[in-house]
């Protein structure tokens, strides 16, 4: 009896001493804001924000990787307190919409095999990188459309995801859901986009897609500054604020589209109204 108490007592004491010593010796400086953030969070560690627990969310907030509003279980109250700690007003970031950078539906882009598995892009992608011959094109099985909380994504009859500029709120759920990263966030003010996501060389792109970018640089020449070609793929330079409309007609494969003039073929969305052009040049 006595020896039991003594043994356990000594073991407990040793462990406590070791832990206490280690806590001093290996103390890690934590940003005081992180502790304050943890205080105001719900503490449910539910992961709704997309980070591992409230601690992960707090860290991501401080690193600027998370939005103040990402904590949905906390509600408006929590958001306000978080914003207070971080010293930000609910700053209105530039509004963004998601765009599917692809026009290669089943008629225009070749498949490399016939896919018969689950109706899901992630499942299809896990089978030899997906049935599309193009490594970046839309698989058209509608994973993004199912995950969209705002019904902003529709699948055309020929298997192409199209996102409504009016319904899209910029929540990025589809961006993270798409296994091929074919959906991009773009500023709402630009309506012209290069709808291609293939970084393959032009000759190869021609083989599998009628509407793929072949990196011919004609758009860059037509609208200097508005486009950039990187890695065999032209893109609208969204930071340049230059007018990109000049490149549309010049594109030999017609993969540049102005969404004001209409959505890709087969979409039931009506063309968006012209946004009021803000008369400011930043």
């Amino acid at each position: 009896m006595f020896s039991a108490i003594l043994t356990l007592g000594v073991m407990g004491l040793l462990a406590a001493l070791a832990l206490g010593f280690a806590a001093r010796k290996f103390a890690v400086e934590v940003d005081p804001r992180e502790l304050a953030l943890l205080e105001v969070m719900p503490g449910a560690n539910c992961g709704a924000c997309g980070f591992p627990g409230c601690g992960g969310f707090a860290k991501a907030l401080l690193e600027g990787k998370a939005m103040v509003t990402d904590c949905s279980p906390g509600g408006a109250d929590t958001v306000e307190r978080i914003a207070h700690i971080l010293g930000v007003e609910a700053i209105a970031a530039e509004p963004e919409v998601a765009v599917v950078l692809c026009q290669g539906d089943n008629l225009r882009a070749r498949d490399k095999y016939i896919y018969q598995g689950l109706e899901d892009c992630v499942a299809a992608q896990s089978l030899a990188q997906g049935p599309k011959a193009c490594p970046g094109g839309c698989l058209g099985l509608g994973t993004c459309a199912r995950i969209c909380p705002f019904d902003a994504i529709e699948m055309t009859a020929e298997g192409l995801a199209v996102i409504s500029r009016e319904k899209c709120t910029g929540c990025r759920k589809c961006v993270s859901a798409c296994p091929r990263k074919v959906i991009a966030m773009t500023p709402l003010r630009t309506t012209v986009h290069v709808l291609c996501n293939s970084h393959d060389k032009g000759a190869l792109v021609r083989k599998y897609c009628e509407l793929g970018c072949i990196a011919c640089h004609l758009c860059v020449k037509a609208s200097p500054g508005a486009y950039k070609v990187e890695n065999s793929l032209a893109q609208v330079d969204y930071d340049s604020h230059c007018d990109a409309t000049g490149g549309i007609g010049k594109c030999p494969t017609k993969c540049i589209r102005d969404f004001i003039l209409g959505y890709p073929e087969g979409s039931s969305f009506s063309p968006p109204v012209v946004p009021v052009q803000a008369e400011e040049n930043p």
Partner: protein, 193 residues
Amino acid sequence: MADLVLIFIGALLVNNVVLARFLGICPFLGVSRKVETALGMGMAVVFVMTVASVVSWYVQYFVLSPFGLEYLQTIAFILVIAALVQLVEMVIQKVSPVLYQSLGIFLPLITTNCAVLGVAVIAIQKDYSFVETITFSLGSAAGFTLAMVLFAGLRERVDLGPVPESFRGTAIALVTGGLLSLAFMGFAGMVKG
């Protein structure tokens, strides 16, 4: 040497901690949404389980047995393992933030996880020597990782499929886990262990 191999294989497949002994079901269900996290958890378990068995072996044969206190086994093991894991967590957090990111977040979850304690106790019950204890705990931990990763892969795949509404979530996960366990029953009798 052949004995050690048999112990390892026996712990890895035949008497898999999760799928045959049904220890450590909580992390098995809780942290198996993604293969990546399952692997991270598995690695943490490999580490903790091995260290915990080694330390508890020492405690058993150098502290408890000499004083005739074997009946304190459970409480003593929990005390030592919990303290040790906490200590290791602190050290990792200070020494290697990268390792802490990938492994450390799982450590508090398994301080005295039933699988960790179970393996330490079983090793004592079977009168394993020191080397055998290490082999056994490594095999068990590898078995745990194997079960976790297999299960996570299955769950990832199942989540994409058209699961009936009433089966979604935990229900289908338990069915999947049951089938996986049945599959591992196929190893029964392969090694006496």
